[in-house]
Each structure stands twice: as C-alpha cells, then as structure tokens.
Symmetry: C2
Subunit: 137 residues, 2 copies
C-alpha cells in the first residue's frame, strides 16, 4: 500500500510545483507595481575601454541584485552595430531603494571605475506598460 | 514511524523546491544564449490614440508569449514625461522564432490595428551584456 501512496504523493507534489511555477509567472507578468521605479539608462562608452566597462557593469549589477533587497532587475544590452552604445533597463522596488542603491560601496566603486570610460549618459524615467515572459525567463 | 518519515520527506521536497527556484534564477541570470535574438523597438504613437495602442500592444505581447514557444520576453515601457514615446525590449529564442512570430494571426492583427497609430518605429538589434534579476522577477 506504501508504493501507490507515495506515487500519488509525488504526482500531487509535481502538480503543486507546476502550479507554483505558473503562479510565479503570472505574478511576474502583472508586476506593474506603481511604486516601482523603472528607468532606462543610455550610455556611450569609449570603444577602447569597452571590455573593462562591461566587466565593471556586470560586477555592479550582480552585486546590487545579489545584496540589495530593493534592486529587482537589470537588462544590459549593446547595439549590435556599435557595442559602445549601451542600454540598461533598471527596475527598483521604489525610489527609496534607488536612493539606498546609489550609496552602496559596489555602486560607488562602479561609478569611480567607469568615470573615465563613459562618454555620455542619459537617464530616462519610465512607466511599465506591460511585461510578458516565459516561465524562468 | 510514518510521521517522522513524512516530515523528513516534506523537508527534503522543500529543499529541492528551493534549489530548483535558485537554479531557475541562476539560469535566467546567465541566459545569454548567443542564438537569441534581442531587439529594442522605439515607437512614437499618436497621443490621441495612446490608450488603444497600449491595449493592442499588451494583447499582442500576451498572445505571443502565451502561444509561441520561441517568444521569450517583452518589456514595454513608456517615458514618464511623454508616454507616447515607447520602448520595447524583445527577446526571441532565435531569428527563426522571430520570422515565425511575424507570420502569426495575433501579430498581423496588431500590425493592422496600430497602422494608423504609430508615427515612427525604429528597430535596433542588440546583444545582451548581462542580465541580473531577483527570483520571480
């Protein structure tokens, strides 16, 4: 009697797990919290220092998302035709989280490291119209 | 003996579930598959038709991610200062997935619906430098 019971239990757990995954996706898709601070940064980098810049950027992104509760999302992309033109989509829990973020050691380290690499920087505040993503993306 | 066994089993399942969630996050963070097609669309919309445009856009995004295996991610955002200026970050599994996408009924319906609403459209192909996101984002 134990084997069928366990099999049923596994089946139930699998169903619960899949439901939770779908729920996470649904929550993500509707995560247009009005408190969130959404920004696009448009950055032009000295092409001769692009590798160092990208490395500093990735280190900053990983540290911020890994250690700061209010830093939610970074997507950093580069123009295929000119990789020195970089766009970053940034999502913070709220403006307070952003204010905390720019006081952190990892952000200050990044700013100091890239000061001589960044040729132009434009910050544009955004509202989310909609987000749609596959589970796990 | 059954109760402690079950408790242990639940504890194990909980640990496995958390590990899988962390793994999903890690996979997401490193999902810089070179085959992926990443694009930023910059769209200017007739302000008088902005509500209808945003509605058509969200319907298209939801249908594409919900039904097409190769449509992975859409973030649609609007300038806070001028919501008729829209930026969409789009990620497809590969260029073949994108070619399939633009042949779908939902995409064609969207294109037809917004033909008279879009004032300008710029499509820029991108490479991902890095992605960092909190679990569930």
């Amino acid at each position: 009697m134990i084997q069928p019971g366990l099999a049923g239990f596994f089946y139930k757990m699998r169903k619960i797990f899949l439901s939770v995954m779908v729920l996470f996706t649904a929550l993500t898709a509707s995560a247009q919290n009005k408190k969130q601070m959404v920004r696009i940064a448009k950055i032009t980098v000295d092409p001769a220092q692009l590798e160092q810049y990208n490395s500093a950027l990735k280190e900053q992104m990983t540290a911020a998302v890994g250690t700061e509760p209010g830093v939610l999302t970074y997507y950093a992309v580069a123009d295929k035709k000119d990789p020195s033109h970089i766009t970053i989509l940034e999502i913070y829990a709220d403006t307070a989280a952003y204010q905390l973020h720019i006081q952190t050691p990892h952000f200050k380290k990044y700013k100091a490291a890239v000061a001589g690499m960044v040729k132009s920087l434009e910050l544009v505040d955004m509202d989310i119209i909609g987000v749609a993503k596959k589970p796990g993306m």
